[in-house]
């Protein structure tokens, strides 16, 4: 009897083994871990992120300044390291939050259908149709009137705002997947065996959706990092001189003829991060894909 049900532990082990079998996923984890550690230990740099030497502006790479200096003579390498703190936190956490919310809404709507579906999807549509710039302007005005300075400039608010403006896409995606999957035989079988709704959703349908969800999540992450820098234009979000990859990139935009390398480094960081997340997503999909698991047996 016990042969028929693999234990939880062996499933976890299988997932981890399958994940690292995807070589690029393994490298991606290492790269991401490196980026996170680099930003955590940014204080080891001999420069501060705001320390200026205006006479030394627009220097190219050198032994003293690995990535050169920016328009105020600040060390770009140090700013990239510190910028990673905000950008990685915003990118990872807002994507996670947005996916989590989207999955819950999409799963409930897709699985139960009927009224639940109608109500949840109309709410989703409402969020989609309402132009986010107006939401942001109203929210900005509201936060300004609250006169709580830490609130409007906190990274937490930025993460929540970005998540609140982007959960609709995963929600619609997940709903579509659920609509298809809930009619499948294995779901009917579980239902016939008396499986609870929660068990069917979490254990049986959701694992089949992980691939598409992760792909959409990796796409969202890059835009979240850029959105963060855009938010500061509306008066909330991280204000200068605190560096973020997005803000370094957007200031560098105006210097392309003068110092094109300034735009290169934050762009490279965003690119590397997004690639890493993408490969991790790839690895996770392989690891969780029930078809792959079955095929191996």
């Amino acid at each position: 009897m016990s042969d028929l049900r693999p234990s939880e532990q062996s499933l976890a082990r299988t997932v981890i083994r399958r994940f690292f079998k995807h070589k690029l996923a393994g490298i991606a984890v290492a790269v991401l871990a490196f980026l996170v550690l680099a930003s955590v230990f940014a204080f080891l740099s001999p420069y501060t992120p705001t320390g200026q030497e205006p006479a030394n502006k627009f220097q190219t790479s050198s032994v003293e300044h690995w990535f050169g200096t920016d328009e105020l003579g600040r060390d770009i390498f140090t700013r990239i390291l510190y910028g990673g703190r905000v950008s990685l936190a915003v990118g990872l956490l807002s994507t996670f939050l947005s996916i989590a919310l989207g999955v819950v809404v999409g799963a409930l709507a897709g699985y139960f259908g009927g009224w639940t579906d109608s109500i949840l999807m109309r709410i989703t549509d409402a969020f989609l149709t309402f132009p986010s710039i107006f939401v942001l302007i109203i929210l900005g005005a509201y936060l300004r009137e609250q006169q709580v300075p830490w609130l409007k400039n906190s990274v937490v608010i930025v993460i929540i705002i970005i998540a609140a403006l982007s959960w609709m896409w995963p929600a619609r995606l997940v709903r579509g997947l659920f609509l298809v999957l809930r009619e499948r035989e294995f779901v009917n079988a579980t239902r016939a065996l008396g499986g609870s709704h929660l068990r069917i959703i979490v254990r049986h349908i959701l694992p089949n959706c992980i691939g598409p969800i992760l792909v959409s999540g990796t796409l969202q992450m890059a835009s979240a990092i850029i959105t963060e820098s855009g938010l500061s234009y509306l008066g909330f979000g991280v204000q200068p001189p605190t560096p973020t990859w997005g803000s370094i990139l957007s200031t560098a935009e105006n210097q392309v003829f003068r110092a094109p390398w300034i735009a290169f480094y934050p762009g490279l960081m965003i690119f590397v991060t997004v690639m890493a997340i993408n490969y991790i997503g790839d690895g996770l999909r392989d690891a969780f894909d029930p078809y792959v698991v079955h095929a191996e047996k």
Binding site: A55, I133, G230, Y233, L234, G235, Q239, P241, V256, R258
Partner: protein, 581 residues
């Protein structure tokens, strides 16, 4: 206030726009050196014809100067709807345009009691639609701009003083004022409205004229593609014979600084407003194609202090600001700023020093910096004022004048977003202040919030700020701006929501000097009065002046007659432009 380059950000599929930009540099003596350059695009390199393409960083909302809350409107409107009775030439002098001479005491145009002004029009003037331009149109312009419901945002000063306009014949308008108004010429330097082609004065906001004006200027709007371009063609009824030389103007809306420069590089545009590069870089990059020209600008950058306690519901200075209420703290801030580095390195030579509100024009007041860069003095002033160094390098109150013991010396610095030189200045000042133990926190808002109204709850208007940083500018007639900014009756309150005294500054000497300057017709008296205001500004320090922007324009080498002016916009004098043969 000026809106400059526009930066676009794609946010979740939506486009958020904000404004910012660049400015120009040093003396532009260099005239176009070469003529061999290729001109591309739709332009034809021949005199007496051709199209000139001008790059606008942002699309104007309309072409009605009087409805403009941003200087971008004037950049295009000046080519079509802003030809009036007079203009200010490149030397800062008034010259007659549609008028047959300027009314003065000597020629009797201005009465001995200063209360009657007689304007004479040139004969046979026509609007761009061919209708005659008569003294009745002057009367109509007064009716519009004196109407409080017109919605006009600028250029209305003095019109409420005009009690009657008589038009004995088609060429003569006799204006009667209720009290002497020194700016009587400036009033008519920004265009006239045609009675037959506009609408009701109170309905000005909705006139079709605003986007397709019938004017007396050298060009007429022929096509407006929203978000892309405004095309203007030669006005056949323009009053100067043989002008304009060009067949048409195309204003292209291009927000990205790099794309603008690329257009100049490819010969797709001939005139470039506020290039992002420094003059040297620009001239090297565009050698043989275009050159950089500069004129002294009017945009004067300063830090404004709130002398009143923020957030207390009392917008007057009766409850002083806990930190900035103490003059010594303001003096310390002024002493902590490294002005030389700020001007030479941080703003890249696109600025020149300014020490007071009157940094240019006939009213220019030469004063030394009240508190030159001196870190030691700044520290000493703060110690005296009862602010001792804390463990984290930021001072805390210990026996300060208004702040409770233990208060951190932390202030918010509010500016507007997307304007690169402003942000660089802010970041530099934050470091300067940190060096003497003052924490400044940058909080930038969109243009519309920073310069919003009392009703909009704009932080500046309701007094919800510590320090503001922005550039302000005024024309050859400075009275209305400065009276509004410094007179104690103009402190912004709920009862006085349009008041411009955001510092909440009360100084009896300033009040008296402003009243003198506003009622005298003697230029020396007025100049002395404004200088007295400047001296008080530097004594009480409601603000600290930093620098004036130098306006920069790039223009193609094969274009002549282009004359940038401090007092005009990029399209000022468009009737004189032509291609080199």
């Amino acid at each position: 206030m000026k809106i400059k380059l526009l930066t676009l950000f794609v946010i979740l599929g939506l486009v958020l726009s904000a404004c910012g930009g660049g400015s120009g540099e040093t003396q532009g003596g260099e005239t176009a050196p070469a003529t061999e350059s290729a001109s591309g695009g739709e332009s034809q390199p021949e005199a007496g014809g051709g199209t000139v393409t001008l790059i606008l960083p942002e699309e104007p909302a309309n072409l009605n100067y009087f409805l403009a809350d941003a200087s971008i409107v004037r950049q295009a409107a000046e080519a079509t709807s802003m030809t009036g009775l007079a203009t200010i030439n490149e030397n800062g002098d008034f010259v007659a345009v549609l008028a047959d001479g300027l009314p003065t005491l000597e020629n009797g145009g201005l009465s001995e009691d200063y209360l009657t002004v007689t304007w004479k029009l040139l004969p046979d003037l026509k609007w761009s639609d061919g209708e005659p331009l008569t003294s009745d149109d002057i009367k109509f312009t007064v009716e519009v701009l004196s109407n409080p419901d017109s919605g006009a945002l600028v250029g209305t000063t003095g019109f409420d003083l005009i009690t009657s306009v008589e038009t004995p014949d088609d060429l003569t308008a006799i204006l009667t004022y209720s009290s002497p108004y020194p700016g009587y010429i400036d009033q008519f330097a920004y265009g006239l409205f045609p009675r037959h082609a506009t609408g009701e004065p109170a309905d000005m906001m909705n006139w079709e004229w605003n986007r397709n004006p019938v004017g007396a200027g050298p060009f007429i709007v022929s096509e407006w593609v929203s978000g892309e371009s405004i095309t203007m063609v030669r006005n056949p009824n323009y009053f100067e014979a043989g002008k304009p030389y060009l067949e048409s103007l195309v204003f292209r809306v291009v927000p990205e600084p790099a794309a603008q420069t690329a257009m100049m590089l490819n010969g797709e545009a001939q005139i470039h407003l506020w290039p992002g590069e420094t003059p040297d870089e620009y001239n090297t990059l565009l050698k043989g194609k275009a050159a950089y020209a500069t004129v002294p600008g009017i945009w004067n950058m300063a830090i404004d202090f709130n002398l009143s306690a923020p957030f207390d519901g009392d917008p007057t200075a009766s409850a002083p600001h806990p930190i900035l209420g103490d003059l010594r703290v303001r003096q310390a801030i002024a002493s902590a700023i490294d002005y030389d580095t700020l001007i030479a390195d941080v703003t890249d030579g696109i600025t020149s020093p300014s020490t007071n509100p009157f940094a240019y024009g006939w009213y220019k007041c030469d004063l030394p910096r009240p508190f030159p860069y001196d870190v030691e003095k700044a520290n000493q002033l703060l110690e005296e004022a009862g602010w001792v160094m804390g463990d984290d390098g930021i001072r805390v109150a210990k026996g300060a004048m208004y702040a409770k013991d233990g208060t951190r010396l932390s202030l918010e610095l509010q500016g507007y977003t997307s304007f690169d030189p402003l942000q660089r200045t802010e970041e530099f000042i934050v470091e300067n202040l940190k060096a003497v133990g003052i924490e400044a926190r940058i909080q930038n808002y969109d243009f519309s919030i920073i310069f919003g109204t009392y009703e909009d709850n704009s932080p500046r208007a309701v007094g919800d700020f510590d320090m503001l940083i922005f550039d302000r500018g005024f024309t050859t007639e400075p009275q209305s701006y400065n009276f509004d900014a410094y007179h104690s009756s103009r402190i912004t309150t709920a009862e006085n929501p349009t008041g411009g005294n955001y510092f909440r500054w009360v100084n009896a000497e300033v009040d008296a000097a402003l009243e003198t300057a506003g009622s005298s017709f003697d230029i020396e008296t007025r100049k002395a009065a404004y200088c007295a205001v400047a001296e008080q500004v530097n004594k009480d320090l409601p603000q600290v002046y930093l620098y004036v922007f130098i306006d920069g324009y790039g223009f193609a080498d094969n274009l002549t007659g282009y004359m940038p002016s401090t007092w005009g916009s990029m399209s000022w004098g468009a009737q004189n432009w032509k291609y080199v043969e």
